[in-house]
């Protein structure tokens, strides 16, 4: 695997798994905070957990979701929420257990498959990840996240055409789904890396790229789109008989 490809793989996994915060220690669940309202339903703790999660307090969120689960152990979505919080704490084992438990309780719960798929991706189990995303798509054909996530796994496997197809499908469903544009850009970057690699193989390691390094080309293309300066493309042309 080339340097570019390895870099792209890391980027893909980061995209598919969401932003991950570094945490080393799984928290010991604290006692559940006493609800500040009477007759609080389990959903009180889910609300608490969601708010804590949204501000990056994943440990606090795990505690809150655990309290909700203690109060209502058969409600599958809470396991998904806790699983995601566990995954954000890098506790893959607990996260997987929670996703599996959610699926046991509700085999049609697409969020559980979606999140488990992202976890499989992070763990490098691409086949299982694709299975989960494909299952979500079969259960919910308009699930833009599932197409997006499956595309990223395809990309991580080097199947760029399949990745592009899934990303285009995601954007066909929701043209405002921004992550798919980022992923599409990354996939084209991967294809670019492949092509540059091909150039190096033909010309040798020390050959100069005709329009500069890949980053310089990208910058020049970006600037050219804004200014109309097409000189970067001119640099890529080759005189007849030059090869």
């Amino acid at each position: 695997m080339s340097r570019y490809s390895r870099l792209l793989l890391v980027i893909m996994v980061a995209i598919v798994s969401g932003r991950v915060m570094a945490q080393e220690i799984t928290p010991t669940p604290d006692p559940c905070p006493t609800p500040q309202i009477s007759n609080a339903a389990a959903s009180y703790y889910i609300g608490l957990g969601n708010a804590l999660f949204s501000r990056g307090d994943f440990s606090g969120a795990v505690v809150a979701y655990t309290c909700a689960i203690e109060q209502q152990p058969d409600y599958a979505p809470t396991y998904v929420s806790r699983g995601y919080a566990q995954a954000s704490l890098q506790d893959n084992e607990q996260a997987m257990a929670d996703y599996n438990r959610a699926i046991e309780l509700d085999e049609l719960l697409t969020s559980a498959y979606n999140n488990r798929g992202t976890l499989y991706t992070r763990l490098g189990n691409f086949g299982l990840a694709i299975n989960d995303f494909t299952l979500v798509i079969s259960l919910s054909p308009e699930d833009v996240t599932a197409y997006h996530n499956r595309a990223v796994v395809h990309a991580a496997e080097g199947n760029y055409e399949l990745a592009i197809a899934d990303l285009e499908q995601a954007l066909a469903i929701d043209a405002d789904f921004a992550p798919s544009y980022a992923a599409l850009g990354a996939v084209y970057s991967a294809i670019a890396a492949q092509q540059y690699q091909q150039f190096v193989e033909l010309r040798g390691d020390n050959a100069l790229l005709p329009a500069g390094t890949p980053i310089e080309v990208l910058q020049a293309v970006d600037e050219g789109m804004r200014t109309g300066d097409y000189s970067v493309w001119v640099a890529l042309q080759t005189a007849a008989g030059a090869e």
């Binding site: 500040q36 009180y44 703790y45 609300g47 957990g49 501000r55």
Partner: protein, 275 residues
């Protein structure tokens, strides 16, 4: 509804002259979580979410969560009004806070936390007569609610009615029993290892306010003396009094001023006690 009030020992940093916000005419917020579920489930969710945001200082988010309850799910749910009012107070949006406390009082006319806290908000808005009515009402509803005595005494002092302020504070002290605690602690026969006598710091606060009232009265007397000295040639005021008056004047203009809300006591609403 049972009312158990835990007073926040903290004083509020209310800034006078804060901008008055217009009444909320925004469309109801989007509240998709647990849509279709029972109101109790949805209410619990948004209370949990809102309180977590509140505790984290994310007041805009907290207000949205509580608004989901009162504007979308259940417009009679008092804890959400009380919590949102607290949120608005933290944001110094006193107009909205007052509206929420008023709504809570409409729903529960004897909810002392709402009555007292609305008084605090009215005072922040410099609506002193309305604030006084609220504190009087709080004392009427619960004569043992000492915070209202303290708050009302501040309004008396702001009107220059120090005697009434002192009388009310002494009444509160007698009612709370903090004077007996003081006597016990000062008993020369009290053993060094005698167990601590528990008391509410809010009750002790009345002594601080009494001191302020007497200081304010002292300043009045000093100023009377200095005023007279200006009326007659050859009457040179004692410099020590000039100095003492200047020091007190300065304190009442700055750290000891009574009109900035910092001496007001806000009651914490305990939503677990009822509903």
């Amino acid at each position: 509804m049972r009312r158990q009030l835990a007073l926040m020992g903290l004083v509020m940093g209310l800034a006078m002259g804060a901008p008055v916000m217009a009444q909320d005419t925004n469309p109801p917020p989007n509240c998709p979580v647990f849509q279709g579920e029972a109101d109790g489930i949805r209410t619990s969710y948004y209370m949990g979410e809102g309180l977590a945001y509140f505790n984290a200082g994310q007041y805009n988010n907290a207000a949205l969560s509580f608004s989901c309850i009162v504007r979308v799910i259940d417009d009679t749910y008092v804890p959400a009004y009380m919590s949102r009012a607290s949120t608005y107070m933290r944001q110094r949006d006193y107009q909205r806070a007052m509206e929420d406390y008023t709504r809570a009082i409409e729903l529960d006319g004897e909810l002392i936390a709402a009555i007292n806290n609305r008084g605090v908000v009215q005072a922040a808005l410099q609506e002193y007569e309305a604030a006084a009515e609220d504190f009087d009402r709080a004392i009427e509803v619960d004569p043992d609610f000492i915070a209202a005595y303290n708050n009302r005494s501040i309004l008396y002092a702001l009107a220059g009615e120090y005697e009434q302020a002192i009388t009310l504070l002494e009444d509160g002290i007698a009612r709370s029993g903090i004077d007996r605690v003081l006597t016990q602690y000062r008993d020369p026969n009290r053993a060094a290892d005698a167990p601590a006598i528990p008391f509410d710091p809010i009750h002790a606060n009345a002594y601080a306010l009494l001191g302020i009232m007497y200081s304010a009265q002292a300043l009045e007397q000093y100023n009377d003396y200095l005023f007279l000295s200006n009326q007659q040639n050859g009457f040179f005021p004692d410099e020590r009094i000039q100095s003492a008056a200047g020091a007190l004047e300065s304190r009442f203009n700055f750290e000891m001023r009574l009109d900035d809300g910092t001496w007001m006591l806000v009651a914490r609403y305990d939503a677990t006690a009822g509903q």
